[in-house]
């Protein structure tokens, strides 16, 4: 693996992501606004005495989804339609390095998101459990799952369609992902929602960051299955031009 190329590609991908205004809105703007607004305004049935204790883990799950699925998916779809992926295919960069660069770049952006969101949440009075190792594993699994979903869209759909679908899925998963209110408030929809990666991640984060305990087995199984299935589908269905 050409490390010089990998470093340069990660830097280029990250810079382009951070310079895209509409991406920053989805990855940082919306999560921060949701966190601050619903912490300060008591309109949601967050189920705990300290609203921020519920909202902070959920919004972190939203942030992971926004970067790994929405931002990566849309950016890759447009690169495909502009012929960038095709052109890179004619260089010695190679697809494994390109893919690695994209995943590393997603993680760099996630670190920035987590730093900002945790900072805001702490300022709002959030007191997470200090033993958060399992939360990191949950985020890594979810990143792989969401990146798989985003790339599956990017590699099969037209760029404009990917843009619409990714944003639509983002809103739906925001609503039924345990981000703003607990899953049990969804009634019958809850058991379906728990099969989706966003709910599984927010479940895992609520328990690991809230109580320092592990998440229910179902959340881990759902995350792991998505982390295997989504990238597999993407790998087989991806059209490079």
């Amino acid at each position: 693996m050409n490390l010089r190329a990998l470093r340069a590609q990660v830097a280029a991908e990250t810079r382009m992501t951070l310079e895209r205004g509409e991406t920053l809105l989805v990855t940082l703007g919306i999560p921060i606004v949701l966190l601050v607004f619903f912490t300060l305004v008591p309109v949601l049935p967050t189920g705990t005495h300290h609203r921020v204790d519920f909202l902070a883990p959920g919004v972190l799950a939203l942030a992971v989804m926004s970067t790994a699925m929405v931002s990566l998916g849309i950016a890759t779809a447009f690169e495909r339609s502009y012929g960038v992926l095709k052109r890179l295919g004619a260089t010695p960069l190679g697809r494994p390095v390109l893919l690695t660069a994209k995943i590393v770049s997603v993680m760099v952006v996630e670190i920035i998101q987590v730093a900002l969101l945790v900072g805001v949440a702490l300022a709002l009075g959030w007191r997470p459990h200090p033993a958060a190792g399992l939360a990191v594993i949950a985020v890594l699994l979810a990143t792989i799952a969401f990146a798989g979903i985003g790339l599956a869209m990017a590699g099969a759909l037209r760029a404009e369609v990917t843009l619409a679908v990714a944003n639509g899925v983002y809103v739906i998963l925001l609503l039924i992902g345990g981000v703003l209110f607990p899953l049990h408030e969804l009634g019958g929809l809850a058991s379906f929602a728990r099969l989706l990666p966003t709910a599984a991640l927010s479940d895992a984060l609520h328990l690991t960051l809230g109580a320092g305990s592990s998440a229910p087995a179902q959340a881990w199984i759902v995350l792991a299955l998505w982390a295997v299935a989504a990238p597999t589908v993407a790998a087989f269905s991806f059209k490079w031009e």
């Binding site: 050409n2 010089r4 190329a5 470093r7 340069a8 590609q9 280029a12 382009m16 310079e19 895209r20 447009f78 690169e79 502009y82 012929g83 960038v84 095709k86 052109r87 295919g89 004619a90 260089t91 010695p92 960069l93 190679g94 031009e241």
Partner: protein, 325 residues
Amino acid sequence: MPAVEVDHLVVRYGSLVAVDGVSFDADAGEVVALLGPNGAGKTTTVETLEGFRRADAGAVRVLGLDPWSDHTKLTARIGVLLQRGGIYPVMNAERAVRLFATYYEDPRDPDELIDLVRLRPVARTPYKRLSGGEQQRLALALALVGKPRVAFLDEPTAGVDPAGRIAVRDVVAGLRSDGVCVILTSHELDEVQRLADRVIIVDHGRVVAAGRQGEIQGDSQELRFAAEPGLAIGELSARLGAAVTEEQPGEYLVSTPPVPALVAELAVWLAERDLPLGDLRAGRQRLEDVFLRLTGSGVAEPTSRACDGASSAPRRGNRKGRARR
């Protein structure tokens, strides 16, 4: 060993045959142009050489490698200019060339390259805000950054302004003298005449003519003239003792060496009928005429192609289908 070998290449898209038995070679230091109308199979041929498509039949070799199965090994040694796009819209020339330089073991100096393609004044302008010609020159720079031994340039002058064309011409000349094999495609005759050592005319997926420019035009001498449409060409042929064809309404071809006596005879024939002479040209065929005759890209169907006129109608349909791809 030639740098590029194409041997009876066939490429299909479903039931559509895009390339139908194309063969040619190209050596190091040689500039070879694939010339043909849109949909002739030029880009498909080049993309097979670049390793983007697989040959359905026949064989291609680039620097002795199979572009499909040895793709990874080959990418370090070829340079590619796609017909369009291929560059991050938000990236400027400076960053793009520097980024691509990291992909290669021993790249050219990025700054030198930006000067070479004359992009210094707009080196910090995002790709999407460059003019068509500037975008094409940046793509050219990216094709060269890895010091390729073979460069594939698909329509390098399409949409390029006159200053850009000169830059492209200089760059291609530089590649030739560095011993790089250049394969380029074009549908512009003038440009091919200036750039290429050898021309391969492709139409409907087949090679219809190939050779150095002089060779393609051949030694055949002819006389062309323009007069009013619908002349009695049978009568005129008999008078001149040579076949006369009306290639397009009002444009005539006399397929025989244009000796002065023939010209005089034609003038007399016209004078007897009081017909004005619109245009008169004698000598070797122009490349453009060869191209138009071979590819049938003229407006009207020339009489001389009447024999294959029957098969050309459905093929036209194919060509549109190909363009939609």
